[in-house]
């Protein structure tokens, strides 16, 4: 199978660490902030987004360009998908143009996994349905590590619509591989009990205070109204019981990090005071997204890691 990136679950810890380490090389530092590289000059990636996305698509595009690759972005509405072409046909057509990788987001869980069985072009999963969002977990891990913390033994509370969250699944797999303690929290209708067995070190609670008590990291999830097929929770009660407010932070470790994959709904799952507080690293996450995606693109497109050759 081509060397793409479909999910975190199938990766070894060593592979994850290699990406996280390499991402560090790509982080902007000090005065001369942004560097451009020519590591992937002459390579071409296609951004194929079947689902609305601003930050992830832009982030991948910038990452590709900073490495010197050409990036073409296609959104589903503008493509032949709107004309009724099947997913397999769309991808085969794109693959016939010989891109070096296809970066793909799709509303159906497993869509990239299904396609990779029929395609030689490596696929990078930029989020599939309610399954995985591997680069989000990688950038979250990079962000935690930047604050000096180790991942081992860390207590991480992931709070919100766990059932429909690909961010939660990818983070659970990644953190579990490092031996972190993961607490999943949300209303029971959005917190499948089976998730307690999805990976080592996972516990579940419906009590937000309990989830946050002693936490090193709090990851808030967006309430995904577009994925709610029924009223699993009365919308107007959500913030009262599962919205993150300043008083919650008192229960956590003093240096707790508040994270959110974005886009944030102020007043729905997180209060403005928390989102804008010193504990929030939400914008750092966005920044790290580019560095991590550069590391992923490099790994997929040039299997043997090279040393950094900065183009001055």
């Amino acid at each position: 199978m081509p060397r793409g990136l479909l999910g975190i679950e199938g990766l070894e810890r060593g592979e994850i660490q290699a990406i996280l380490d390499r991402a560090r090389d790509f982080q902007p530092r000090g005065e001369h902030a942004i560097r451009k590289y020519d590591l992937l000059r002459g390579r071409m990636v296609v951004n194929l987004f079947f689902e609305a996305s601003t930050r992830t698509r832009t982030s991948f595009e910038i990452a590709a360009k900073r490495l010197g690759a050409d990036a073409v972005s296609i959104t589903a509405q503008a493509s032949s998908v709107a004309k009724g072409e099947s997913l397999v046909d769309t991808l085969n057509t794109l693959a016939a143009m010989h891109p070096d990788a296809i970066i793909m987001r799709h509303a159906a869980s497993g869509a990239p996994h299904f396609l990779q069985r029929y395609l030689d072009t490596p696929i990078i999963n930029a989020g599939d349905g309610t399954h995985e969002h591997p680069t989000q977990a990688l950038l979250d891990a990079r962000t935690i590590l930047d604050r000096g913390a180790r991942l081992e033994g860390l207590r991480v509370a992931i709070i919100g619509d766990i059932a429909h969250s690909r961010v939660a699944r990818s983070n659970v797999h990644l953190l579990s591989k490092y031996g972190a303690e993961i607490v999943l929290c949300g209303p029971a209708s959005l917190l499948p009990r089976e998730l307690a067995h999805i990976a080592k070190g996972v516990t579940l609670t419906t009590d937000m205070d309990e989830a946050i008590r002693g936490a090193d990291v709090i990851m808030m999830l967006r309430v995904q109204l577009e994925r709610q097929h029924e009223a699993a929770f009365p919308a107007n009660e959500y913030f009262q019981f599962y919205g993150l407010r300043l008083e919650h932070l008192l229960l956590a470790k003093p240096d707790v990090l508040v994270m959110h994959p974005g886009p944030i709904n102020r007043g729905r799952e997180i209060s403005s005071e928390v989102a804008d507080s010193q504990r929030s690293v939400i914008l750092t996450q966005v920044e790290n997204g580019i560095a991590v995606r550069m590391a992923v693109l490099e790994r997929v497109l040039s299997p043997v890691p090279e040393h950094v050759h900065a183009a001055h």
């Binding site: 679950e9 099947s86 997913l87 397999v88 799709h106 159906a108 869980s109 497993g110 869509a111 996994h113 299904f114 599939d128 349905g129 309610t130 399954h131 995985e132 690909r166 699944r169 499948p192 089976e194 998730l195 067995h197 999805i198 097929h229 029924e230």
Partner: protein
């Protein structure tokens, strides 16, 4: 006068309790006798079954032939050929065609087409309600007269308990069993695979076991009230099997069938997002599979039925959530059951044969599945040890949606005889 003599096979006839090497003599499409070294005077056609098992013609009481309406997926002819290649002499055609088989006209059409092709016996199953919409009862009596052997709104279970009660009462007047695909559609809505650890891991919406259980429970209570003959199609959950056993212990006329795939595969056997593993009910947990196997061993389950459900390749080559439900089953049923039930030592051969013959015949109340003199001359000849590999691309079906493609089997069908004619031979 046409005569067929099946020589020297191990004849297993669960109806008479026979299990021993003998000849089977069929004349003019009817069983004349079974015995040692039968001598037939005139030039008879002879089929040598030495080293093989000769059983009553297998019956599959749950098949989707797709005709009329979905001939791109299967036709009565191609489905019948696949049945013959799977060792089935008789198949029941589920009514979810277009139009739905909810009238004597459609019933007669199916029966007539099948007769015209003359491959295997095709017994239509009529709809419970008009257009299988769960509201008005279909023309059950007329369909019975036109040849329907049972009623079912398979795939679109009757959600209204009052309608189901009336259907059971009405069917009882005609001595027909009511077959239900047990699934509470509100509990299962939007689901694509069994709800459990695997669905949580894969991010797929679940079809909970309880969606099957609550309807089995409801129907058993209704069967008690109405005195109807009630049959659970493709039983797949532990609680459902337990409830059928409970109903039988109470003396109710309740029966159940299991598919080969529900006793062979669990949700964790699915290669990630492979549409050829998507069906309803879904592949359930390993514990449910164990319960289905136990139900076969202890008699809670009466029959094996395939729920053969063809879908053309393009429909299964999609995102998992867009793939239709259903898989092929006719050609692999015996191979799978020999492996999981017989070679594994769970049941003896006569019980295995019963699940394919006398079991479904009893549920349907038809004079088939037996080698008694005067019964239809249908015989299935199969091997217990022939090694073979299933290549779905060589299937007689028009479709290719099987999870068993490329699988090796030990033992399987060798010849199928319908009314004294060899309709298929390996």
């Amino acid at each position: 006068m046409s005569t067929l003599l099946i020589r020297n096979g191990r004849v297993i006839d669960p109806g008479s309790g026979r299990d021993g090497v003998a000849d089977v003599w069929i004349e003019d499409g009817v069983i004349r006798g079974v015995g040692a070294n039968i001598a037939v005077a005139n030039a008879a056609e002879v089929l040598d079954a030495t080293g093989l098992v000769a059983a009553p013609g297998f019956i599959d009481m749950h098949v989707h032939l797709r005709e009329p309406g979905f001939e791109h997926a299967e036709t009565i002819e191609t489905g019948s050929r696949a049945a013959a290649a799977g060792g089935f002499a008789t198949i029941c055609a589920m009514p979810n065609t277009a139009p739905v088989n909810d009238s004597a006209t459609v019933t007669s059409y199916i029966a007539g087409k099948a007769h015209q092709h003359g491959i295997v016996n095709v017994l239509p199953i009529g709809a419970i309600t008009k257009n299988s919409q769960g509201e008005q009862l279909a023309e059950i009596g007329s369909m019975r007269k036109a040849g329907a052997v049972a009623i079912s709104d398979d795939g679109r279970p009757v959600m209204n308990a009052r309608v189901m009660r009336r259907a059971m009462e009405f069917a009882r007047s005609f001595g027909m069993p009511v077959i239900n695909h047990c699934e509470d559609l509100n509990l299962s809505a939007g689901g694509d695979m069994h709800e459990g650890l695997e669905s949580a891991r894969l991010g797929l919406r679940g079809i909970p076991g309880c969606s099957e259980d609550v309807m089995v429970a409801r129907d058993i209570l209704l069967a008690e009230v109405t005195g109807a003959r009630y049959h659970v199609a493709h039983i797949s959950s532990r609680h459902a099997v337990e409830m059928v056993a409970f109903a039988k212990a109470r003396g109710l006329a309740v029966s159940a069938e299991a598919t080969p795939h529900h006793l062979a595969l669990s949700d964790s056997d699915m290669p990630p997002y492979d549409g050829n593993y998507k069906m309803k009910p879904p592949l359930r947990s390993a514990s449910d599979v164990e319960a289905v196997l136990d139900g076969i061993v202890n008699g809670a389950i009466d029959a094996i039925a395939t729920d053969h459900a063809p879908h053309p390749g393009s429909e299964k080559m999609q995102e998992f959530e867009n793939c239709p439900f259903g898989i092929l089953g006719l050609e692999t049923a015996l191979g799978v059951c020999l492996e999981k039930l017989f070679h594994s030592g769970k049941i003896e051969l006569p019980r295995l044969v019963e699940l394919f013959t006398a079991g479904p015949a009893r549920i349907l109340g038809i004079n088939r599945g037996t080698l008694a003199p005067g019964a239809p001359g249908d015989v299935t000849i199969f091997s217990l040890d022939r090694e073979w590999v299933y290549d779905v691309n060589k299937s007689f079906s028009k479709s290719r949606n099987s999870p068993f493609h490329g699988k090796s089997f030990r033992g399987g069908p060798v010849a199928t005889v319908v009314a004294g004619r060899i309709v298929w031979q390996a």
